[in-house]
Symmetry: none
Subunit: 209 residues, 4 copies
């Protein structure tokens, strides 16, 4: 439950404290990316962070909190990258394209982040045995995509389809492209992203366009 239980507020020395936490979270990301979820022990994470298990335990309530931070941090980072690129587009089709391309671009530059989120989100469970995070694509992402798609339909940009299905499909397609690149580094995610944009453009735009 966080270092000590100081009577007053939350953090005590935000400067050092937060730096250390970040360093450990980064080590956790790299470790999970490299050896996978099941093999990512606190010992290994600590080793990569160049500390001992107890330091990790000091800064995080437990493995659970650490792994949650991994996901939370990656979600926040990626959203900070994607959001302005979305905002720069006015049409629904433009936003959809920006979403696909910025997502792929972000992860293309951060291979470990990609592997870590996928691994943690797909495996991390609470004590009751249920997955702690939404499987594969998180709910808020689907909501966001759903809104873009629905807006496009209302404005006549897109044809009639089930927005949730297409949202799921877009999400998975992005992961697919990234997965193909991870499995075979000669794959170019950028050009695949462009192909994906074309593909979904055809799949979604209304007849007349």
């Amino acid at each position: 439950m966080r270092p000590e239980s100081s009577p007053s507020g939350r953090k005590r020395n935000p400067i050092i404290e937060e730096a250390r936490r970040r360093q450990i979270v980064d080590a956790a990301i790299e470790t999970v990316a490299e050896v996978g979820y099941a093999q990512a022990s606190l010992a290994r994470i600590a080793q990569r962070a160049q500390t001992s298990k107890s330091v990790v335990s000091y800064h995080f309530a437990g493995k659970d909190e650490l792994l949650e931070q991994v996901v939370t941090q990656i979600y926040a980072d990626s959203w900070a990258f994607i959001e302005p690129r979305l905002a720069a587009q006015s049409s629904a089709a433009g936003k959809l394209a920006a979403y696909i391309e910025s997502n792929i671009a972000y992860m293309h530059a951060r291979r470990a982040h990609l592997l870590a989120v996928v691994a943690v989100v797909g495996n991390h469970r609470s004590a009751d045995g249920r997955l702690r995070f939404e499987p594969s694509a998180d709910e808020s992402v689907l909501t966001l995509l759903g809104e873009i798609l629905r807006t496009g339909q209302r404005d006549g940009e897109f044809r009639d389809f089930d927005p949730r299905l297409v949202a799921v499909t877009v999400s998975q397609a992005i992961i697919g492209v990234l997965g193909a690149w991870v499995a075979d580094p000669t794959v170019d995610p950028t050009s695949y992203a462009a192909e994906l944009v074309t593909l979904f453009d055809r799949a979604t735009r209304s007849q007349g366009d």
Copy 2:
């Protein structure tokens, strides 16, 4: 999801031996589906198979071989279901639709198989730390889809696109639909499958059609 034969595995008393192995593999599938890859210990699997750990160890060289059998068996089963449905179609578009629909239909009827393959394929690693199976969509599936798509392009059914990208996207879309259903059982995979067929039809067919 994978065209290949099931065999391998040296036998001792083919008759009883194989029954026992099957029973244990089934228990492994259910266990992984229920508690996830990381929590699926031999003890838990043995418990569900109503035996003891040593029996499991006796019939399989180790946990590795057992989990490989899990994937191998599910690939074989699903291929036995899908293959005839593919063969019944003559056009590339028909084959593509049959692929999508039969894949989803198979897993729709076998939730545990779906969860188990995804979990094992995404997590199981050899001693050197590399994934034992191709991540998310295995190579032979992509090869098969790729051939269908290329044939369709050659025959003018499909427009010009990167067959590998579309193969990856189709594969992932199927997983996406199934994932949506697992997360929310009110989702109807059959109608989603139909939507997916439409979506990819639009995305792939050549201009004039």
Copy 3:
């Protein structure tokens, strides 16, 4: 949870199994007696039993079950010693004296048992933080003593007093004598037991006697 989870009944090889469990319980008794409850780790117990921690974990579901066995076994052993001595007496006063003397005699011959029960009963707690056993003197003992005392009152052997208070006092007096002996080995529990019998005889017998 016991070794494995064989499909059939409880124990598998009662002969070896039970011997090993007994050996470990004995080691636990000696360890707790020697180093106290808080310092009695599974490692230390295993060491004294000339095995490894994992053997202990194999035969007992956990430290909890082991320590419960410690208490259960000592209660059973001591009762087997005391019961016939109680039965040999017909009067309530005789039974009371026999109870005091046989209790002290039993523990006098088994110093480690005495120290272990006291330590475990006074310290062992369940996850919710409550003591697992009745504190200091267990309920069934008080019930038994209470019945003897009440019988004596009904038959006119004993004066009028609160049977529960006297039961508690007798119980504690026995522990006191044994504690005095443990702290100072020159104390003779046998003669103290005799003194105690006299003391409670005077304290309980009805006026006229």
Copy 4:
């Protein structure tokens, strides 16, 4: 429960220093009372004292010194309560009754103190593994009781018995009454104390009385 003065403990800034120490000792008492000796960690004690572990470590040489203070302080407090009540009695029988009643009255009003002393005295050990305090009833108490009893015997108030045995028995009886109350709060320690006085009166007074 123990005639002795509280002092010791080197001071730095007597005024604030001593207040802080007292506060921490109180927190230790409550913690031990609530969770037991083995679970009373410095972290938990600090938490209840609304500070951090390092503050505790700063004010006390270590956990050992803190727990010793717990016992010392309770002994001093209880003696301050009991002593005047003893002094008010002139006869040995009166002093014995006053001892029993004031002891029970003190602890009746301070449940946490009772639980804490019993727990610490029965468990706390020095590095060599020996109990730091005399087990269950400490020596000075027995000496005091012994003197009362011997005086009573010399003056003809009490019959002939081993004063040490009776001292031990009285001590344990008091703990027994308090233990019964702790286990079952409906028990009334005051009336049990009165019963105890009667019981020991009968058990100790000389024949003719």
